[in-house]
Amino acid sequence: MAKELMKGNVAAAEAAIRAGMDFFAGYPITPSTEVLEHLALRMPQENREMIQGENEIASMNMVIGAAACGARAMTASSGPGISLKAEAFSYAARSELPYVCLNVQRWGVGLGRLDSGQSDYMRETKGGGHGDYHHIVYSPSTIQELVDDIYEAWDVSEKYRCGVVVLSEGFLGQMMESVEIPPYKKREKPLGWGIDGSGKIGTRQSPDTDTLVARLRERTALIQSQMQRYENYQVEDAEYVFVAFGLPARVCRDAVDTLRAKGEKAGLIRPRLVWPYPVQAFKEVNPQVKGFISIESNDLGQMVEDVALASRVTSDKRVPVYCYAHSMGTPGVKMVMGKYMEVKNGSMKEVF
C-alpha cells in the first residue's frame, strides 16, 4: 500500500478506525485534539459511534460502558485530561475491560504547557488510579510505530483483558511523517463475553475477589513475560548505554551513530513498551558496561527508576545509572552527546 504524509494525531485516529474501533469518546485538549476532530468526521462515515463528552471523566466512563458491552472502545487526551480519567481506569480494571487510551503527552504539572513532553511516564506505567492495576503501555518513536501500535492495541487488550495506553508525545502528534495506513480489520474471534441485556453472559468477571486476585496476579506475570519489547542498538560492546523511548530515543540513536563515528562505544536500549518494562533488554548489554544514561523529556527523571531496577536485577555489578531530564520539548543530538561526555568525564553525578 502506498505511503501517505500524515500528521501523527490524524494517523493515530485513522489507525484506530482501521483496527475496528466501534466507539470513541473524548474531550478537546491540546496537543491531542486532532484525534477527536478526525473521528468526528470519520466515525459517522463508517457508521460507528463517536461522542464529544462533557469532560474526560464522562468520556472514559462512556468508554467503560461501551467496552462492557463488547465494543472496541477508545479515548484520547493529554496529561491533565488523563488525570481525570484515572478514576475510570481503576473501575475498568475492576471489571477487566479492554480499551485503548491514547495519551499525547504535554509537558508539566498542573496546566503545564503545550510543549511536548514525557511527563506522564510514572502515572501511565505505575497505575494512576486507586488499587492495583497496570496498563500495557506502548511507547512509539515514529508515526508509523504509533499507527502500528494502535492497530495492534485491541488484540492485545482483549487477549489479556487489560487496558492499553499508547504513549504519544506532543511533537509526535503534531508532526507529519510518511506513513502506511493498514487495511480495515475486525476482531478475529468473538470475545465470548459482553453485556447484551440477557443476563446470561455479562462481562464474565471473576465471581469472587479471591479468584479475581489470583487471575490478576497470573495475568500480570504473563504479560510481563510475553510482552518484553525493545530495540537494542549497539549494546553488545557499549561502554555507556542510553535508555530512551519515544522521540528522545530517535535523538539518542543519532547520537550513538555520531559518537561511534568518533570512536566512542555508545549504545541504546529503546523500550517499545514501557510497561511491562523490557528488563530482558538489559541482559543483552555488554557485561563490562560502565553506565546507563536515561534520557527523558521531563523535569525530574521518571523512567530512570526503572532503568536502575532493570540494571540491578540483570547484573551482579552495581552499574551507575545517570539521567538527563531535558524538561519540555525534545533534546537535540548535540545536547545528548554532551551529556554522554559529561558522564564519561565524571562531571555528571549518578542518580542510582
Partner: protein, 246 residues
C-alpha cells in the same frame, strides 16, 4: 393455585436493604415494568454507588457497577453500543444529583436515550446519613448535627424540575413516591412511561423516587412514612414535569 402477583423472578433472593427502606419497592416496580414492556431478557441496570450497590446481589439480570456519580455516562456508552437494549441507571440522590450532577445533566442535555432512576431519601444513606443536596431545611444529619442551615449550606435540590425546565427536549421527567399504595401505583406508571419513552426512542427520561430511610432518619419504618409525607412531599411535589409527546 394460579399466581396473580409475585415479585419478578429475576429478583431471586431477599434484598439487603434495611427494614422499611424504599429501595426494595422501587426496584421491584422497575422490574415489573421491564417485564411488562417485554425486556426481561434485554435490559441492563447501571448501578451507582451507595445503597444502590445492594442490587449487585439482588438481581440475576445484567447489571454494571459504576464509579460514584458516573452511571449516566456509562449508560450512554452502553446505549450507543446496544441500541435495542433497555438501559437504565439506578442511583441515589447523592449519586445522581450531587457527585454525578454533571453526568446526569449532560446526558439530559444531549438527550441520550437512557432512563435515569434516582432514589431521593434526603441523605447519603450508605455512608451513614450525611447531608445531601436534597436534605431538608433544619433536617439533622451527621454533617448537619444542628440541623441544615440552608443560608450557609444551600437549599433543597430539585433535580427533575431543573431538567424539565432547562432541557425541554427530553422525553419524560417525573417524581413519584413509595409512601402508600396509591403513590406506588402512580410511580409504577411513571417508571413505565420513562422506560417506554426510551424504547420508542423519544429521548432521555428521568424519574426521581421519594423513599423513606428509617435507619438514618432515626425513625421506625412507620414513623419514617409519616415524616416523608409531612416533610418531603411538601418540599418535593410528586407529578410529571415533562410529559411524553408534549
Amino acid at each position: 393455585m394460579n399466581v396473580i402477583k409475585q415479585a419478578p423472578e429475576i429478583m431471586y433472593k431477599n434484598n439487603q436493604f434495611c427494614a422499611g427502606c424504599g429501595h426494595g419497592i422501587t426496584y421491584r416496580l422497575i422490574q415489573e415494568a421491564v417485564e411488562e414492556l417485554g425486556y426481561k431478557d434485554n435490559h441492563i441496570t447501571v448501578l451507582g454507588v451507595g445503597c444502590s450497590c445492594n442490587l449487585n446481589t439482588l438481581t440475576k439480570g445484567d447489571k454494571f457497577q459504576c464509579a460514584h456519580g458516573r452511571a449516566a455516562a456509562v449508560a450512554t456508552g452502553m446505549k450507543h453500543t446496544k441500541k435495542d437494549t433497555l438501559i437504565f441507571t439506578y442511583q441515589g440522590d447523592g449519586d445522581a444529583g450531587v457527585i454525578g450532577i454533571a453526568e446526569t445533566l449532560n446526558a439530559a442535555y444531549r438527550n441520550e436515550k437512557i432512563t435515569v432512576i434516582t432514589v431521593n431519601n434526603s441523605n447519603f444513606g450508605m455512608t451513614g446519613g450525611q447531608m445531601s443536596w436534597t436534605t431538608l431545611p433544619e433536617q439533622i444529619t451527621t454533617t448537619t448535627p444542628l440541623g441544615r442551615d440552608c443560608a450557609q449550606k444551600g437549599y433543597p435540590f430539585h433535580l427533575p424540575e431543573m431538567i424539565a425546565s432547562q432541557f425541554t427536549h427530553v422525553a419524560y421527567v417525573a417524581r413519584g413516591a413509595v409512601n402508600d399504595s396509591k403513590n406506588i401505583r402512580q410511580l409504577k406508571k411513571m417508571i413505565k412511561n420513562g422506560l417506554e419513552a426510551q424504547v420508542k426512542e423519544e429521548g432521555y427520561s428521568l424519574i426521581e423516587v421519594l423513599a423513606p430511610c428509617p435507619t438514618n432518619w432515626n425513625l421506625s419504618p412507620l414513623q419514617s412514612l409519616e415524616w416523608l409525607e409531612e416533610n418531603m412531599l411538601k418540599e418535593y411535589p410528586i407529578g410529571e414535569f415533562k410529559k411524553r409527546g408534549v
